[in-house]
Symmetry: D2
Subunit: 139 residues, 4 copies
């Protein structure tokens, strides 16, 4: 992986494309990239034990997403999601993400997670353990 | 529909939510909104006979998408996509879109379509018929 | 709608196809039909107030699905799901379903729902109110 | 992997589950299993160079699918699709498939592919090269 990619993104997660990712134009549909984003970041948070999607008191709601598409990819390509944290707020985090095919960035974007109480859905302060993990991948 | 919504969006398209639109948090997943966008705009272009996704010489590639999420919605809600054209370039168009539930905007975003030759995927000038249709919904 | 279709199916539910339903072969992918099935039956159960997917004590788990595909359909087709109940057991129900395009059956299948306690996921006896609703659409 | 699984299935393909695979009941939705089936078999046919989904003269249409669900799985589980060929006809093939989590079969099913001419969509005889590859994984 190139140095510039390693500087941009701190976590890398492999994505196997699926038959259903391709649309009629024979490439991965623009919508599907966001599904890769969701999968990579949530998988990381679950592994680090700061998010428990079934029983945890806090959940992460997405309030903004954006993506720019540079090069088409298609099933059965093997892809990688690279991501890092751009900004840590009181209760929200901006993640920067890229989709890579063979170390080339084919799409780039971000999403904003707000961490809220599962029941009342009000924003909650990111706790120290969570914050420490985010800081490790802050760029 | 409120006047402000009618000013913003010129075309309205009904979306029936689906079981699979909801994620574990019991609301429509952020990714799915983009699927509503794709569906509404392409349906419009097909109906107006300026896009033929199977046999046409030009196809529309998405090069940028963005969405902000204001209020959660969930299957089995009935939703509406409202959209208009924000900018018409030589070969690209910016569409502004909103997702409405009972005349309230629950999410808002845009996407950029570049119209290209199906075979060589090079940008092609938007033809007069297509341009006229886009101009009718320009805001 | 033909008499034979009305004999087969007791509930009809409109489906707007989506851009993402089409696969590279320019027709609705075989997988997506099951998403229509899920949507139609769950929508019915929610409307009849026998299923509350967020707060209800019982949920419906799918233990078997089958579908035969007769004729291709494609976005932006307007489709209809027709369905009826084939068999009501103690805690399980077999639904027969068809996908219709302009009153022609383009695909047909079934799925088996087992109604279980949300928490321990053990089968629960279908209650009289629920059973009465199912019996109305039994064929 | 157990001997009985190795007897049943001849090809194994890893699936990384995705955030969007889970539904409101916090497990992989019944529909998504078919997406794993599609992905595994088509990936195999593409790798073996008997299917070219973009330029090939023949394409595989799905005419029947079935699945039985034994145990729930959920994102972020790592899964495996195991499959083999059950029957080779003139132009159609029955594939038997299982979804495995840690060497336990959690779901099992089949699908029937008919190989047709891309243009006229009429069934075509499976050619000797293709047939040989199918025979290797016939059980």
């Amino acid at each position: 992986m190139s140095l510039s990619i390693k500087k941009k993104f701190k976590v890398f997660f492999k994505i196997n494309t699926r038959w259903s990712d391709n649309d009629v134009y024979h490439h991965v549909n623009n919508v599907v990239y966001y599904s890769y984003f969701d999968t990579a970041v949530n998988n990381f948070l679950i592994e680090k034990k700061v998010l428990d999607i079934t029983n945890g008191k806090i959940i992460g709601l997405v309030v903004e997403t954006k993506c720019n598409y540079y090069h088409p990819v298609a099933f059965p390509d093997q892809l990688t999601v690279g991501f890092s944290v751009k900004k840590i707020g009181n209760s929200s985090v901006i993640y920067n993400l890229g989709i890579l095919k063979k170390n080339k960035i084919v799409a780039e974007g971000h999403f904003v997670h707000v961490y809220v109480d599962r029941k009342n859905r009000k924003p909650t302060k990111i706790n120290p353990k969570f914050r420490a993990i985010l800081q490790e991948i802050l760029v």
